[in-house]
Structure formats: C-alpha cells, structure tokens
Symmetry: C2
Subunit: 406 residues, 2 copies
C-alpha cells in the first residue's frame, strides 16, 4: 500500500508515529501546505522514517493533489486536514481512482427557517450524494474513520452484531478529565472547531421520525465515565455518528453527547450570548485605524494552542458508545469504550492523548484495507465493515478497548 497523507498537523504527525511501527505499507507521503511542517513530521521519525516522504500541497487544489497521487503511485488518500478540505480531497481521490479515507465528513448547513427543528444540509450529505459514482467504479471512500466518528461507529456495529438482538438506543458518549498545568481554562481541542460543533444545531435520529435537530446543549445528562474519569455532564452536539450509524445499524434512537462539563458548556453559552462565537467580522480600533476581525478568531488567539499543551496536560480521555436494548429476551445496557492516558501517549509517542486517540484508528483501518480484512466499494462508514477484526487489531496496537455492562 502507498499512502498520501494530507495534513501534517497534530493528528497527521501522530499518524506518522503510529504508522512507522507497522509493516503494512510501502510508502507514506506526508503533504502539507507548510512544507516545513511535513518535513518536521518526517524528521521526527528518525531512522524509522525511511518509508516516509515530505511534500508541499494545497489541499484545495484538486489537480495538484491528483498529480501528487500519480507521481508517487499512491493507492490511498488519507485526509488529515480540517473539514473545509473534505470535498476537494474527496473529489481528487475519485479523479485519481484511489481509495479515500477521512476522519470528519463534509460540513452541514442549518435549515434557514427552522434550524433547531429540522435538518438543512446534513454532515456528509455532499459525500453521500456521490455514492453511486464510487460504487460503480468499484472504488472505496471510507468516511468518518477517526475515533469519533470512527471507533464509536465500529462499537455500534459490534453491539448490533454480537451483543444485542434488538437495540433501543445508541448514544456515543465522550468525556475526559484532562487538565493543563498553568491554565484555568485550556481546551484540549481546537476552540474554533469546538465552537462550530457545539453551536451548530445538534442532530438526533429516531427510527420513526428520521433525522431532526434540537437546540444547542439539549438533553443534558450526567454520564459516569470509566477508568477513574467519573461523572461528566454531557449534552447533544452535532456529530457524524448520528448520520452514519442509522445507515447500517437498526436502532430506535441514535444520539451523540459530548462530555463538555458544566463549566465548558456555560463558557460556550456565554460566548454565543455575547456574539463572540461569530465568524463574520466586526470593526475595532487597530494601530493604524479601524480593522475588521472575526470575533471567533480573537477568542482562539486569547487561548493557548491545544496542540502545544501535551507536556503540561494530565488525565485521560474516553471515547465510547453506550447501547441499550435486549439480548435473549432480557434488557441489556453496555458501554463500549476506549481510554487514552495522556501520560502514556506522551511517553510512548510524544503525542497528546486526544490527538493520538484520533490518529490510531484510521491507521488500524488502513492496515485492515491493506490486508484485505476490510474491503468494499461506494461511500461507506466504519459500521459498514466487520467490527471484530478492527477491535482485535486495535488491541494488538497496544491500546485495548473495554466493555462495561451496566
């Protein structure tokens, strides 16, 4: 397998460190708009970097990406950029005739009239609109294959295949107890993206009603996370799993709740109340007269860069899927989960826990595609594939998952 990895940010860099320890591929080209960043990722691998090459590329330039794929004879495009580049990279992979893999799907647009009741353009809609093209060409786009979406979807399929006869509800639940030395408030993930996720109308799926949206932060609940993380307040947010799981798994209800905790929820509410979440520019005094700036950029500029905080971070992050239903006529409720301790991921890989957890899952998926354990064509989510090989290989990567009967 020859892979073009686009994006050498936190997650892309962690991908190279995880992949470098595995034999399933022959070449991984690491491409970024900032060549120095790609080169730094490769250089950091030292003598393990012989199968890696650094390149510069503009992810929005479809022909440049297709050219790079052809030049290196790649058969997979692995998208590790931010969601704005999903569509150009998805199209470039199709044009080049290679397999495509991403960790977040094409963006949503709220319904202009009733944003908190009905869906407008949903996450992934633009990609799923091309399902027939990919299927007819016998080509595969594996979408939403990070940790959430990604591992969480594999868990959902595993529950349906092996743990339940009938499923009433599937709820992805994400929580952490990460703290950062020296900061009272330091998000462990991009605040720009977190605002985008949390203030978009959350989407829910019900078997009888289909997809619908709610107000931001709806249906708060306290979820008790394993591995010592404990109870964290979770609320509905817009996330890919709710759009993916119902396409392949039958369940009465599918939700995604993010364990933001009370303080973080209130912080986001306040930013929204004050209009500081907006991306449309406001005019303020600058050194040489008035300047127009995006309030959300100013919020991000006031906070530390989460990718640089791994060394000062403590605690664990947990991704997982809670499932309620029946098995052999009895009620059953389980939480399938994966925990990463920041101390471990920093010591083992020099990567912050949230970033490492996002990166390990697509590498596992690539290895399954390379060995043929996973195969298919069309635009497919992780739950379209057999879950057991994935979960076994994740364990073999040294990062086991867990199950809690509740």
């Amino acid at each position: 397998m020859r892979v073009l990895l686009v994006g050498a940010g936190g997650v892309g860099t962690a991908v190279t460190r995880i992949a470098a320890r595995r034999a399933f591929f022959d070449l991984m080209v690491v491409a970024d708009h900032d060549l120095a960043r790609a080169e730094a990722a490769v250089a950091a691998l030292g003598q393990d970097g012989s199968r890696f090459r650094a390149e510069r590329v503009d992810a929005a330039d479809e022909s440049a990406v297709a050219g790079l794929l052809a030049r290196h004879g790649c058969d997979v495009l692995f998208n590790a950029t931010d969601p704005r580049f999903v569509m150009p990279l998805f199209r470039a992979a199709r044009a080049a005739g290679v397999t495509y893999l991403d960790m977040a799907m094409s963006l949503s647009r709220p319904d202009p009239e009733r944003p908190y009741e009905v869906c407008g353009v949903k996450l992934g809609d633009e990609q799923f609109a091309h399902t027939a093209d990919w299927a007819e060409a016998g080509a595969l786009a594996l979408v939403g294959m990070g940790v959430e979406p990604g591992l969480s979807d594999v868990f959902a399929r595993y529950a349906a295949d092996e743990l339940f006869d009938e499923i009433e509800e599937i709820g992805v639940r994400d929580g952490a107890n990460l703290t950062v030395d020296g900061y009272d408030f330091a998000p462990s993930f991009s605040i720009w993206t977190t605002i985008e996720e949390c203030l978009n109308p959350p989407v829910v799926h019900e078997a009888e009603r289909g997809w619908f949206t709610t107000e931001p932060f709806s249906e708060p609940e306290v979820f008790d996370f394993p591995a010592g993380i404990g109870p964290v307040e979770c609320v509905n947010v817009e996330h890919e799993e709710v759009l993916l799981v119902p396409r392949w798994v039958t369940a009465g209800r599918v939700t995604f709740k993010y364990g933001l905790g009370r303080e973080f929820i209130e912080t986001l509410r306040t930013l929204h109340l004050l209009g500081l979440d907006r991306t449309e520019p406001v005019t303020v005094p600058g050194a040489d007269g008035p300047v127009a700036v995006s309030p959300r950029d100013v919020v991000a500029a006031c906070l530390p860069d989460p990718a640089t905080l791994g060394g000062r971070m403590h605690g664990k992050t947990c991704a997982g899927t809670w499932v309620r239903g029946t098995k052999d006529g009895a009620a059953r409720e389980v939480y399938l989960y994966h925990v990463v301790d920041n101390e471990w991921s920093m010591a083992e890989y020099g990567c912050q826990a949230v970033v490492w957890q996002t990166a390990v899952n697509p590498v596992v998926a690539l290895e399954l595609l390379a060995t043929g354990a996973w195969s298919g064509s069309g635009v497919l989510g992780p739950e379209a594939f057999p879950p057991r090989p994935f979960l076994d290989l994740l364990t073999a990567y040294g990062s086991p998952w867990g199950i809690r009967e509740q």
Copy 2:
C-alpha cells in the same frame, strides 16, 4: 454662574436637558472632541437652548481647556468625560482658577505584588494629593458628584447627621431590573467601563484596618431593592464611595456592592477566564494579513451601544445607601434610595434611566453652588457638604428619593 461642560456623550447630553429647565446659570458651554456631538446636544434643546453654546475641545489639552474657560468667562468646569481625562481637566480648572466638578475620580492602579490584599494607587489619590493647593487658593474641586458616587455619598452624610448616633456599616447598593427588547444580553452601561470596574480589585474600608482590597466579586449577597425591582445578587466592586465616605463620615465599615445579578457576574468571570477582558493586543488574521487588536474592544464591538438602547429599554434603576447602626440606644437599619423608571426618563427627557440618573445629581449640586447653599474649598467629596439642601432640591427637580426602614 457660567459653566463649561466638557463631554457631550449620553450623560453630558442629559445634563443639558435637565439644566435647560433651571434658572441658576447664565451660560453653559457644551464642548466635545466631536463638535457635531456638542452641536446636536444644543440643537436638541430647541428654543430652550438660548443659554447654551457648542464648542470643540480636546479634553486632554489643558491649555485649550483653560483658554475656553477664559474666553467664555466660565467659573465652573463640569467634567462629563470618561475617567482618563480626569487629571488634565482637574489641572486645567486649577490653572484657570475655576471650580471643578466631576462624577468619577482619578484612576487606580493595583498593587503589583498583592493586588487582592492591599491597595496600590487608589481611586482619587492623584486628586487628593492636590488638596492643599486648592484649599490655599480658596478654590473648590467637588469630586465624585454623580449618582454613585455622588447621591450615594450625600445619603451617607444624611444618615450620619440625622438618622444615627453610631454607624457600624455603610454599604452602597446599586441594582436594576432593566431589560432591552430584542437582546438577550445588552449591558445598560459601557461594557468596557463595567469590565474595568468589576475586574479591578474591589476596595473595602474598615475603621480599624483602613482601606484594603479583595478578590473580584467578593462577599456576594442578595439585596432586596425597592420599587418592584426585588432581590438582585450584589458583589463588591471598586467604587469611589469607599474612598470618599470614610474621609468625612465615621463608620465601622464601608463597602460598595453592585447588583450585577448572577448571569452578568458569570459573564464577566468567563470573559476574564478566557482573557477576553484584556486590553493588551492579540494578533489575529485580518483581510490584509495579521492585525493586532484589543480583546476588550472586540467584546464591546459585539454588543449594542448602551446609549442607543433607551427606546427599547424597560424597567427601573435604583441607586442607594444602606446603613446599619444605632439611634437612641436602639439598633437601626435603613436603605436610602433613588429610583428612576426608564419609561419616565425617556418620556420626560428623552434620556435612558441610568444616564439620566447620573446627570441629574451634578446639576442639583451646581445649583447649590450657584445659590451658595453649598460652598467650600479644597478637594471635597459630596459628603463634605450639608445633605438636606441637596435632598430637598432633588425632590424639587421632580425626582424624589426614598427611605426604607428595615
């Protein structure tokens, strides 16, 4: 009396409308850095504007201000600008040999080592340093003569003179139930100044300990405001009364608590936590490359301008002084207060309630100085003068005060 009013913002404009109905002065020159604003204030008076003149002036230019005082033969400089201009205007008045009056005092600077324990430079310190010059010249600087400080200080002196034999505590308490149509969050006062007041270390005075500071938002209490406003959560903030009252009135303890309400306090806390209260610039993307902007300016730009909201505002604002002590051997507790209903101030004066309430008190004080009911020399607070004439004249202005025994 011939008055130079510097500042034709919300409060300055309200001053002209209130003064226009009174006969105590011969001329009021309305000067602003923006001549159009001064002209608009005078033009709005219509046929009542014959005693008013508009001028342009830079409040920071002491010789220009002194020249303007001389040219119009003024005997009073009334400072209605923001606190940054207190010192140049205070000096200009002294240089010109005229009476000086303001509504906020020279700014504080926190102690660099222990900001939340001890005072650094206190509010008014720079002005009080000149007490001897003013006293020797037989000239008067009446400082802190708005509503708070101002009327609240008059109430403190009134309590000491007529209601109590001994005072244990004097607590200024300010609260409102103002709402603005169409906004979930719209401060009724400059957010820039509110952040400054609320995030500076609050100051407290105790007879045995002198002045000291606390953490922001300290000593929260729910105070029940009169006139239907009801209970509002109040916290310590830095305010002039705590620096003024103890100089002329004997009390065991003096505090100022602002009825910000829970939501507003949490909003300010969040802004502080995220560093969005800062005035030091951060660098963010602009249309033509990176630009440096002050986060606090961005917060202000995201919110509506409070001076423009009077027409959409509903509710009342209450300023007052709560006093606890003994009279004739018995315990006594009173709240002396002044309430303005926004509907009334808009209908009567076309002025928003908070702005009107700030403006009426210095006009009353000017009239007392014009008639000789108040006189003195040196740098004096409102509590240095007999309170009864002030309170009677305020009532005669159509805006009576109240007293609640509790």
